[in-house]
Every structure is written in structure tokens, then in C-alpha cells.
């Protein structure tokens, strides 16, 4: 809850009642706004008695209505954890309408001619304007941010997500007050007197100033609270996100590492996977591996890292759209990484890819055992089928350099075809 809300509620409860039982409007057991049941609960009398008393009081120049409206306006609503009712916001505006109407009724009862009626309406307008201003500066209303009604027109009336709206309504309320005061003065003043109108304007300005003075501290406090709250919310959200991530990934990884501490390979695999995921979370904007070349390569490298517990030092210069041919290049690179992981007997493999105007190139290098290309049996399909053959089918080239004891480098190149360049330009547009 906010300070403002407490202040207002507190002032009323301490002034009128012993503090042991707070006076508030309950959310349940209510017919209109819960004033009657709130009073009944507080006074310890049946609800019916309070309601009857209010209805009876209605006979005295609408006193019942006025009382109800006044209580409605000032009583805080019972704080509950459940979702607030959707209409509360609009409902809280109604009392001021009610006050205005009550005043009109009162006027109509006391005077019987049309002038008084007009004056009554103007006073009503004043009351509504003041009500809007006062209501607007009520800090508790800000909690309704999430409970703005679904209907667009209603949202436009009560939503205050936007500061401009707030200003608009505040000024609107002020104009209403001014109009009302000017009107009252003009109507009651002798007809045709210019000084009276001027006086009216002055009165109106004084009235506005008064409203401003009254509302200023509230407004100031509200703005401060609003800002502090927003910052707090953002911080809280970030914290929650971080906590969730650490819980879901880091803590689980650490637990797994503790249980597998004897298995060095497994520990390394877990640590590496976690490191990569944290890094991506911290530094990298995520791109879809099905759409971008760099993201696809990094994903392939990550899979190999996870599966074979090696580290792949991935460096990608430039990036491009992913199409079928690029996907084939990535698949061939992945196969080369798998080969290096399985046969080279090393812990680190380098993966370098470069996107140039004319071609895409990928290099996979290890410093492992190496092998003799001529000695590879015809029946082994890994290199011939998955790497060389695949590249050839898609118009690219694969070259494998290896020497026993000196490691292996697989060089894959794929010319940037006219179609793919055109497609990339199309996508960029």
C-alpha cells in the first residue's frame, strides 16, 4: 500500500473511531459500494439497520445520498490479495457525480425557479470538477494499473498509464471548476454587469489556485511514488528473472557437478554448457538458428560441445540469411566438428566462419591425431558423404588437409549464389 492511502484512511479512522476497528468498505457483501456494510461492521450493528437509516436520511434533503457519497469517496477499500474488481475505478468516480446530483436536488428543493436550477447545475459542475481533481491525485488509484477495464472507451476514461492523459484530465477538472465558479458568479450577479463577470473570473482563478495548492503536495508525492515504484518494479522484475535463471540453470548444474565430481569429462561438459548458456544470456542477442548463419553455426558448435565434451572455439565474422544451401554448409561444418571431436583426441577445436561478398567459408581445425586421406576406406561415409558430397551437391567445395600428428583442417566454401544474394536483399527490404 502507499503512504497516501494509509494517511487518508488513517486520518479518518482515528478522527471518527477508535483505532482498534478500522473503517473500510468491504469488497464482498456489498450492494452498491459497500459503505453500508462497512459502517455496519464497524459499528457492530446489522447491515439492514444502516441501510434503513440511510434511506430514511434520504428524505432530509437527500442527506442519505450525500452521506453515502461522502463515505464512498473517503473510505478506503478493504485490502485483499485477490484481484481487484474491474469496475472499481469507474465506481470511485461516481461519488462526485452523486455529490453534484445531490446538490442539484437540494437546490431544486430549496428554490423553485429556473435561475436557482441553473446555479445548481453550475455548482454541480464545480463539484464534479473538484472531485475529478481530488480523485486524480489519490495515490491509491495507481494500483489499478493492471485492472483497467477491457473496453477501450472505458479504458480511455479511467486508464492512467499515460501521463498526458493524467494532465488532460487534471486540466479538464480545473476547467470545469473554473466554468462552474464563473457561471455561478455570472448567474447570481446583476445582469449585464461586466465587473461581476470579471470578479467571477478572478474568483475562478482563486478557486483554481486553491485547488492547485491543495493538490500540489499530493501530486508531488504521487509523482515521486510513481517513479520510485516503477524503478522498484523494474529492479524487482530483473531480480526475479535473474533468480529464475540461476535457479533453473546454475544451481542445477552445480548440483549435478557435485554428484558427478569424479567424472571429469562430465563435469567439464556441464560447466561448459552452463558457461555458454550464461554467456549467451549476458551478452548475446538471441537469433534464430533457422534464420541466421552465425546462430546456426553456434548452435551446431554448442551441440557438439555438449555431446562430445570438447570445447569449440567459435569465431564467426559477418552473418547472413540461412537458406537451404547455407544450412547444408552448417551441416557439413557440424559433421567436421563431430569428426574432430571423435577422432582427433583433443579438447579444443577451432571453428572459424567468414561471410564475404562472394562466398561463405568455414574452417574447422584441430591439432589432434590427424589422418592420411588416402588411407580412408571407401566404406567410410562420414567424410565423403556428409562433408565432401554434401558440399558438392550444393555447389560448394570441401577440402581436407590432414597429416598424421599434425592435426586436421576442413575447409568448406560456398559461393554466394545470385539467388541467395537476391533473396538476402529482398529480405532486407
Amino acid at each position: 500500500m502507499t503512504i497516501g492511502g494509509h494517511n487518508r484512511g488513517g486520518a479518518i479512522t482515528t478522527a471518527v473511531n477508535p483505532p482498534s476497528r478500522r473503517l473500510y468498505r468491504p469488497r464482498d457483501h456489498r450492494v452498491i459500494a459497500g459503505v453500508a456494510s462497512g459502517l455496519a461492521q464497524h459499528l457492530g450493528v446489522p447491515v439492514l439497520v444502516v441501510r434503513i437509516a440511510l434511506v430514511v436520511l434520504l428524505g432530509f434533503n437527500g442527506l442519505g445520498l450525500l452521506l453515502y457519497a461522502a463515505f464512498w469517496a473517503v473510505l478506503p477499500q478493504q485490502v485483499v490479495t485477490a484481484d481487484p474488481p474491474q469496475r472499481r475505478d469507474l465506481a470511485m468516480l461516481l461519488p462526485f457525480g452523486a455529490i453534484g446530483l445531490g446538490v442539484v436536488l437540494l437546490q431544486a428543493l430549496v428554490f423553485d425557479d429556473s435561475v436557482a436550477g441553473t446555479a445548481g447545475w453550475l455548482i454541480a459542475v464545480t463539484a464534479v470538477g473538484a472531485g475529478i481533481i481530488w480523485h486524480q491525485s489519490d495515490p491509491t488509484r495507481r494500483h489499478l494499473g493492471g485492472a483497467v477495464p477491457q473496453q477501450p472507451w472505458l479504458a480511455a476514461v479511467v486508464a492512467e498509464s499515460d501521463r498526458r492523459f493524467f494532465l488532460f484530465r487534471f486540466i479538464g477538472g480545473g476547467v470545469l471548476v473554473a466554468t462552474g465558479i464563473i457561471g455561478v458568479v455570472a448567474v447570481y450577479a446583476p445582469a449585464g454587469s461586466l465587473t461581476a463577470v470579471v470578479n467571477g473570473v478572478i474568483f475562478a482563478l482563486v478557486g483554481l489556485l486553491g485547488v492547485g495548492v491543495v493538490a500540489a503536495p499530493l501530486l508531488w508525492r504521487m509523482f515521486n511514488q510513481l517513479r520510485a515504484e516503477r524503478e522498484g518494479r523494474i529492479r524487482e522484475q530483473e531480480r526475479a528473472e535473474l533468480a529464475a535463471m540461476i535457479h533453473d540453470q546454475v544451481l542445477h548444474t552445480l548440483a549435478l557437478i557435485q554428484r558427478n565430481s569424479a567424472d571429469i569429462k562430465e563435469v567439464q561438459r556441464l560447466a561448459r554448457g552452463q558457461e555458454r548458456s550464461l554467456r549467451n544470456w549476458l551478452y548475446k542477442p538471441s537469433a534464430s538458428p533457422t534464420e541466421r548463419f552465425a546462430a546456426a553455426l553456434e548452435q551446431a558448435a554448442a551441440e557438439v560441445e555438449d555431446t562430445y565434451a570438447i570445447s569449440v572455439e567459435t569465431v564467426v565474422v559477418g552473418d547472413t540469411e540461412c537458406d537451404e544451401r547455407v544450412a547444408a554448409l552448417v551441416a557439413a561444418a557440424r559433421e567436421a566438428l563431430v569428426n574432430a571431436a571423435r577422432h582427433a583426441g583433443v579438447s579444443t577445436v577451432s571453428l572459424y566462419a567468414e561471410v564475404e561478398e562472394s562466398e561463405l567459408s568455414v574452417f574447422v581445425r584441430d591439432r589432434g591425431a590427424g589422418f592420411d586421406m588416402a588411407g580412408v576406406q571407401e566404406s567410410r561415409h562420414g567424410v565423403r558423404g556428409s562433408i565432401i558430397g554434401r558440399m558438392q551437391r550444393h555447389g560448394g567445395k570441401a577440402e581436407i588437409r590432414s597429416a598424421v600428428g599434425d592435426g586436421t583442417e576442413v575447409r568448406l566454401t560456398l559461393p554466394a549464389s545470385r539467388e541467395s544474394v537476391a533473396a538476402a536483399k529482398e529480405a532486407a527490404r
Binding site: V317, Y352, R365
Partner: protein, 222 residues
């Protein structure tokens, strides 16, 4: 270079550690003990600046992310007054902006904290000798930063563009080649490879504002 280092081990290099994690400092100190002489450590920018000025080590191992400004602040404070102190960035972050930022600020190399102790010792030695330490990833970032765009006018082409040879060297570095292997591949001497790499580093540190802002804009850093 102000002093020519003996490549032998008769004179131990003095190394200073700057890192806000005490555990990590202790670990590095233990790992490096056999190779170099760790002469001091600091956990904050202010502490680092005053101690480095007093001790004047050969090489400073510099963490990138610290609460009060990070490695960048230390470099900015020390670079002018102590040009003979070499800085090697040692960070857990390998984000492009961190790496390039530190190099531009004057670090002679950049390695990540997953580096093995032997490799770290070798990197320290190389930095102390006046060379640059380029990881494949750093080479990739540099290639990215200097990606050739023929239609872009360059104020000082001599300074801002990489030569073809330098580009080749960087590509091989990025592909995981060691200096020795690069020399063999390109039929040049290791010394030439080192010169190329040093030139790249210099260009990176001195390349003009236009280049830098383009690089940053490309990565939506500004």
C-alpha cells in the same frame, strides 16, 4: 620497447594482478608462481593505480569488469604516465565491446579466464616482449571491425585499413593457427607474423573516431 627482455628465464618477469575477486587472484597467483613473479595485487581501480605506479611491474593482468570503472579506468589512468608497463586483459567476458574496448584503451592483449596456466604464462611473456596476444576470437572481432566496405571513404587509409597480409594473418589466427604455423602457411618468418599482429594492434588502438563509431553503431552499442 624500453628494455629488451631476455627470452630466457634468468630474470623473472614481474606481474601485478588486478581483479576484484580475491579467490581468482589467489588462483592465478598459485598457477603463475612457477613462471613469473607476482609482485602485487589490487582489488579496485584506485588501489591498482596507486600500487602499479609504486611497483612498476612488467605486466599487469587486468580484469575488465570491476565495480568502480573496471580495467578501462586503470588503463586510462596509467597509460600516459607509465608507458613501459604492459597491460594484458584477463576477463571472463569475451563480449566484443569489452574486448575491443580494452584493446583500444591500450591493453596489449586479451585472454579469457578459461585460459590454461601455461598459455597464460606464455601470453604474459609475449606481452612483456612487446608483442600482442591475439586469441582467435579477438582476431575475429578485429576482422569484423575492419570489415572492408569499399564504398566507405576513409580519412587515413594508411592507418585505418588492414593490409591484405594483415588480414590473412588475422584470418589464420582466427582459424586456430599458432604463429609458427601461420609463418609456415604464408612462407614468412615468425618475426614477420609478430610484426603484422603488432601493427594490427596499433591500428586498432589508433584508428580514428569515424571507424570506431561505425563499429559501435554496427553493434548497436551507441
Amino acid at each position: 620497447m624500453t628494455e629488451v627482455q631476455d627470452t630466457g628465464t634468468d630474470r623473472r618477469l614481474t606481474v601485478f594482478l588486478v581483479d576484484d575477486h580475491a579467490m581468482f587472484r589467489a588462483g592465478v597467483r598459485a598457477e603463475l608462481g612457477a613462471h613469473v613473479e607476482v609482485v602485487g595485487e589490487a582489488s579496485s581501480v584506485a588501489e591498482a593505480v596507486s600500487k602499479i605506479a609504486a611497483i612498476e611491474p612488467d605486466v599487469v593482468l587486468l580484469d575488465v569488469h570491476m565495480p568502480d570503472g573496471g580495467g578501462r579506468a586503470v588503463l586510462d589512468a596509467m597509460r600516459r604516465s607509465h608507458p613501459h608497463v604492459k597491460f594484458l586483459a584477463l576477463s571472463v567476458s569475451d563480449a566484443a565491446e569489452d574486448v575491443i574496448g580494452l584493446i583500444r584503451a591500450g591493453a596489449r592483449g586479451y585472454v579469457t579466464k578459461t585460459i590454461s596456466p601455461d598459455e597464460l604464462a606464455a601470453a604474459i611473456r609475449r606481452v612483456a616482449d612487446g608483442d600482442a596476444v591475439f586469441s582467435p576470437r579477438l582476431a575475429g572481432f578485429v576482422l569484423d571491425a575492419f570489415a572492408s566496405r569499399p564504398d566507405v571513404p576513409v580519412a587515413d587509409p594508411e592507418l585505418d585499413q588492414l593490409t591484405n597480409r594483415e588480414r590473412e594473418v588475422l584470418r589464420l589466427l582466427a582459424r586456430g593457427y599458432a604463429y609458427k604455423e601461420i609463418a609456415k602457411e604464408l612462407f614468412i618468418s615468425i618475426k614477420t607474423v609478430e610484426t603484422h599482429v603488432s601493427n594490427v594492434l596499433r591500428k586498432l588502438q589508433m584508428s580514428n573516431r569515424y571507424e570506431l563509431s561505425r563499429w559501435a553503431a554496427d553493434r548497436r552499442l551507441v
